[in-house]
């Protein structure tokens, strides 16, 4: 590739968000931020990169997927691969003095290499919340409420949240008395939902038949309370039963809040990271391949920063949310269409100041106003406004005839001083409607005529 191609292309795995999509992303974030704020969560902003040592404990098996580079002293730096670990670090080292629990939220990008050919982005956006310092129980129910409410606020009722518990799988593995490597192997097969391999491995394990049956059926314990009950009864060990009870409690809580409709039990949910120690969950929207949200309890993470505190939390994946919303609402256009937007076009160069003055007046009322600065004539300005989805145009000119021609001699309402939502008058069915009559505008000196055209359909 020559120099120009490098300059105009992007590296694998990253993309630009053009205005239409950028606005959609921002709206989702603002919506969810509002939700978190309402529950008392406060935002923190960790840095975009940290020392490898500060994030490695949270990586699970994904060490190879982090973006690494060196600082000038040769220390390894890592582009932020997740938020939970930095937030744990912040609470452990900077917020511990205040009495807990701590409710923190965050929004921003994460970086990780992906399998080539998988088509997944290397830079993803998350918005999430952590509730640190409260033990298993009500705190987990709160986190799940946030997840359910968030999906509802976005209008994604056609979604499902599946809850599992790390203790279910781990309880069974404990009872089976398996070593570290066997455990990891089995966790991997359950996480991948590779039932065939799971059966084969289980067949060779030196465990009782009843335990083997439970283990093999684990990823298929999906549904509601009945399935959970059946599992709890069949599971021998204390750990697994306790875990099932916790799930049951959370379901109770959500039911009482009227938030349980979209929630299911699924003991096959095994999150990637090694640090989950309790409830784990994932949310999916029909038609979107990756989870739109996920999280769980991770009581052992803060210990790594010298502060043994229980913690639970989750995050929404903005990329997946945007895919879900685009599937429902249609893809966002290139430009962010703003219905309360206005274009003011000075048709003579010396009217620019007047145009800018009017723009300021309108902006003070909360409208979005652009001033035409590139010397376009009326036709070009109209085309521009239509392409950008701008709501109204005002043409300014000292020549009454010009404005007349634009208006086609029609009568109409008073021009640009009224914000669109209070404007009355009929909408034209097709084409831009010329609705304002030509009138001399106020101002000192020579009369300035204006014509206002409403482009909204």
């Amino acid at each position: 590739m020559n120099g120009l191609e490098y300059r105009t292309q992007l590296p694998l795995g990253v993309r630009d968000y053009l205005p239409g999509e950028a606005l959609q992303k921002k709206r989702i974030e603002d919506n969810l931020r509002g939700l978190f704020t309402g529950y008392g969560f406060q935002e923190v902003i960790p840095p975009g990169f940290e020392f490898y040592e500060a994030v490695e404990m949270g990586l699970g098996g994904k060490v190879e997927q982090t973006y690494k580079f060196f600082d000038r002293r040769g220390r390894i730096l890592v582009l932020r691969p997740d938020f939970t670990t930095p937030l744990a670090r912040i609470v452990a080292t900077k917020l511990g003095a205040a009495p807990g629990p701590w409710r923190l939220c965050y929004a921003g990008s994460l970086f990780s290499y992906q399998d080539p050919g998988a088509g997944r982005p290397h830079e993803t956006y998350q918005i999430g919340a952590e509730l640190i310092g409260a033990p298993e129980g009500a705190a987990d129910a709160e986190i799940l409420s946030l997840a359910v409410e968030g999906l509802r606020r976005l209008g994604l009722q056609d979604s499902q949240i599946a809850i599992g518990h790390a203790g279910c799988v781990q309880g069974i593995l404990e009872e089976a008395g398996l070593g570290e490597e066997d455990r990891r192997l089995i966790l991997g097969t359950v996480a991948r939902r590779d039932l065939v391999t799971l059966e084969r491995i289980a067949a060779k394990l030196p465990i009782s038949d009843s335990l083997r049956r439970i283990l093999v059926r684990l990823p298929s314990v999906v549904g509601g309370r009945d399935e959970l009950e059946a599992f709890a009864v069949a599971a021998g060990g204390q750990g697994a039963r306790e875990a099932a009870r916790v799930i049951g409690d959370v379901l109770d809580h959500l039911e009482r809040l009227g938030l349980s409709e979209q929630v299911r039990v699924d003991l096959g949910v095994v999150r990637d990271f090694a640090y989950y120690s309790g409830i784990v969950f994932e949310g999916h929207v029909r038609g979107v391949g990756l989870p739109v949200c996920g999280g769980g309890r991770y009581d052992r993470l803060l210990d790594q920063f010298g502060s043994p505190l229980p913690a639970t939390g989750f995050a929404f994946d903005l990329n997946s949310l945007m895919i879900a919303l685009a599937a429902r609402d249609g893809a966002a256009g290139t430009w962010a269409t703003q219905p309360f937007s206005w274009l003011i076009v000075p048709l003579e160069a010396d009217l620019y100041a007047e145009a800018a003055r009017r723009a300021r007046e309108l902006r003070a009322k909360g409208l979005i106003v652009e001033v035409e600065v590139s010397g376009k004539n009326a036709e070009a300005a109209l085309a521009y406004a239509q392409e950008r989805g701008i709501g109204r145009i005002t043409f300014l000119s000292r020549r009454p005839g010009l404005a007349d021609a634009l208006m086609g001699g029609g009568e109409g309402e008073i021009g640009p001083t009224e914000p669109p939502e209070r404007a009355s008058g009929q909408e034209e069915a097709a084409g831009p409607a010329a609705r304002s009559g030509m009138k001399p505008a106020a101002g000192p000196g020579t009369a300035v005529y204006e014509a206002v055209i409403d482009l909204r359909r």
Partner: protein, 213 residues
């Protein structure tokens, strides 16, 4: 394909018009099924993206593609070995010390690379889409990694299998989200398939003759 149709029939799914058809999409709305006939190595991709909820694909393609799908049942048919094959006169090619770099032609570049990496042999992987057994003959590669069922193709090209990478059979795979969203229907189907596949396996002696393409 025939084995898949036999299986579908055995579990009560409609199969009219599938055999010998060149149509890629077959709809059976009353029964609630739609079949997509795609290239076998693309099946995991369709299932991973959720365009198809379920898929039938060989374990060899599953291992190579490494898509994020749930694997539900080993269907038992289409059994083949994935093996390293060398020219018949050089059976010990990979056993000597001081093996320099060898060239490996294969349809499974990822699996081949992993295998030789694990063996500690430096290998240059040449990715071919078909007629892999010709490569050593024409001097394109030293060895090949390919599927072996009866071994006839290898023998015809003066090659012999010396190392196995894996044994591959057809598998029923499922989109992970569908697995959860439609759990009861998929569970029931999976169970029926398992039983039908088990019956079929019990009744057949020896390996199948079909070479997976």
């Amino acid at each position: 394909m025939e084995e898949v149709l036999t299986l579908l029939q055995a579990v009560g799914c409609p199969v009219e018009g599938l055999l010998g058809s060149r149509k890629l999409v077959h709809d059976f709305p009353e029964a609630g099924w739609r079949y997509l006939v795609v290239r076998t190595s693309d099946v995991p991709t369709y299932v991973e993206y959720g365009v198809a909820d379920l898929g039938v694909v060989g374990k060899d393609d599953l291992l190579e593609e490494r898509r994020e799908v749930a694997e539900l049942v080993d269907l038992g048919f289409g059994r083949c070995r994935l093996a390293v094959a060398v020219p018949a006169g050089s059976r010990d090619l990979l056993n000597g010390t001081g093996i320099g770099r060898i060239r490996v032609a294969t349809k499974y570049p990822r699996l081949a690379e992993e295998h030789f990496h694990d063996r500690g042999i430096q290998a240059e992987i040449i990715h071919l889409r078909g007629s892999v057994e010709l490569a050593p003959l024409l001097g394109l590669s030293d060895v090949i990694v390919d599927l072996v069922s009866t071994g006839r193709t290898l023998a015809e090209n003066n090659l012999v299998a010396v190392e196995d990478l894996a044994v591959a059979t057809a598998r029923l795979i499922c989109n992970r989200v569908s697995f959860r969203l439609y759990h009861s229907r998929i569970s029931a189907f999976s169970q029926a398939v398992r039983e039908a596949a088990g019956v079929a396996a019990g009744g057949v002696a020896g390996e199948g003759n079909a070479e997976l393409q």
